[in-house]
Symmetry: C2
Amino acid sequence: MKTLLKNVGIYKDHVISEHQNIAIEDTRISGFPDVIHTEEYDTIIEGKGMLATPGFVNTHNHIAMTVFRSYADDMQLMDWLEKKIWPAEDKLDSDIVYAQTMLGIAEMIRCGTTSFADMYFFMNDVAKAVSETGIRAALCRGMTGCTPSGMQALEESKTFYQNWNGKADGRITVMLGPHAPYTCAPDYLRKVVALAHELHAEIHIHLCETKGEVENIKKQYGKSPILLMDDLGIFDCGCLAAHCVWVDDADLEIMARKHVRVAHNPGSNLKLASGIAPIHAMLQKGITVGLGTDGASSNNNLDIVEEMRLAALIHKANTLDPLVIPAETAVNLLTEGGAKALGYTDVGKLQEGYKADITLIDREGLHWYPKNDTMSLLAYSANSLDVDTVLVDGKVLLRNKEFTSLDIDKIRFEAERTKDKLFSSL
Amino acid sequence: MKTLLKNVGIYKDHVISEHQNIAIEDTRISGFPDVIHTEEYDTIIEGKGMLATPGFVNTHNHIAMTVFRSYADDMQLMDWLEKKIWPAEDKLDSDIVYAQTMLGIAEMIRCGTTSFADMYFFMNDVAKAVSETGIRAALCRGMTGCTPSGMQALEESKTFYQNWNGKADGRITVMLGPHAPYTCAPDYLRKVVALAHELHAEIHIHLCETKGEVENIKKQYGKSPILLMDDLGIFDCGCLAAHCVWVDDADLEIMARKHVRVAHNPGSNLKLASGIAPIHAMLQKGITVGLGTDGASSNNNLDIVEEMRLAALIHKANTLDPLVIPAETAVNLLTEGGAKALGYTDVGKLQEGYKADITLIDREGLHWYPKNDTMSLLAYSANSLDVDTVLVDGKVLLRNKEFTSLDIDKIRFEAERTKDKLFSSL
């Protein structure tokens, strides 16, 4: 199966070049031919005026929390969790998680997202939705060691890994998902590390999201969460750490040395008033950073272009330096940085041999005029709904802003049905 | 001329109600009939599933700076101004300003904006574009007292007021636009105040945008820019103050007492690393606040929904309080707050007798599902490209996401032509 993306601008090797072609053979990019023989291709996508970028990567999500989108906002964190989220999460089932995951995946594809990392429950249903929709994902079963189901979650994680890692034509990878240091005690985390080594699985964990949690861990263990995780061996497994808002220089040194990869969630961190993660300092130390939306309950959409915009803007004001996170850095966080954060080695660049995860962006919106610097237009002006075409693993999932195979009316209907079912049970 | 918006959700009196009708007679809202007689209306707009809000208001713009969108980013402010913007602004002409204003107005209408405040040069061309496109605007000729053209700018402002205030069926109001305290000395500002009193014109000015400018004014005059403006009588004219990032409690007291209205430009303030304006404190003191994009050179789009999102998010993290700027406050900044900031008394609410400036939002995007709280969906999840229909002064300017009368291909072409003309002259 050979596909050609014809006459597109492409973001490659840190610059954007116009009037390029991208050839795809099966699931991978096979080249960038100057001269094209149209008879060689099964599918030709005319891309005139479009911009091709590596598919966008959402590095931190709890995707089925779409059911809680705008369900309970403008509350204090503990009120929100104790009175709203936890009682409702207790009533989730496989049916609800599957329907809400389908909604979240469709929303992400519409915004140009080709892969995502997820941590939640009923992960078989999430994996099933990933498999069916064609998106790529790094999935983990969230584990809270402090609850009675802690040991069961470890067992489930193992089974989930065995059943799904490498499945869906290799589009699914499975990680282990201990929730956070404040919900998983050291003894529990040691068990997670042992299992990670046994399975050769990597770890996805929340770290240093709020000031309070960092202070509590320091009080309890006499060291920062980062140092505690390092001592427990979490970082020796390969680690995707979400948030990292409240980290100091000593923490950053450890993170850099141990190749901790960071999921930066600016929208969620702002909305929950957690703070602003020092990603400028992280990038200076060579730490890999990608962008995440976090769950729709705290964002409230899964629009990764909005996260790029936030990342491009908020660090400038936070450091009072207009030169931090310039346009190309923001675009890199959205694409290559995100792919690296998820541990991919052949995803995230437009390069021969890389997986054909590609987003085509329509540049005819008025906010793309006049046509000055394209990188800057993408970073500072683009809208997620400009996304026109999305390919994952060489397969076209969105074309002319329409889904090629997903039944969107059914997805909307099921999202409503399962939302009503959940809230009527409370 | 009678128009009916049928079966819409409406944001009115601080809440959203479904299945409502809005009747319009000529330019104004005439009522909200429960029972409708379709034969009474000349035009019926079926709004099933749509949400009607007061038209969005962009309270601070330099609209023709669309020509500089993504022309020169990621630079230090003075480098950017001295090496890029000022030399290029020197080459602007009437043709360029008109074409770029048409582009900016079309972009704003596409995003649901029904009125805006503008400060720039060649304002006759801006007013002509406002008149032709059907949008509402509060316009002023930017005046920099420190340049040789300072006195000429005052004269031009007077003529501009006389020629255009109240024109375009009352859609245009004219203000006086002294640029800022650091570009207009006290003697010059006294002349502006005298002219304002002579014409009964209000004032639009930049205040306290950067920390450095506030420090310099304090050094030079021994008082804050706010206190200096108060002493000069600027606030006695009715004043729209853009930015107000670096204001202290004493400044806020004066602003509240003198009814200074604030144009909050979060995107521009973040991008230029100016800082974060304390709008939460302003609102607590009863100060009127609206949202602005500032010019596209420092934003880089004119997407006022993006500004609402930023305003809803950044102040939570900045104060570490998730309860500040809740959903309804954010929506109010976008609509009624903005209209009040521009000095309108019959624009900015869905209320009988008010001007029919109305934005209809399509809620079928996946990010609007499942349908939990609508106000929260609007504040935290909506996308500007969800805007489906826009009315200003009772006239439909956008319908089904298409312009009813603007020739968008021509606007794009002219934006490119005049951009090329400008930059080839440098």
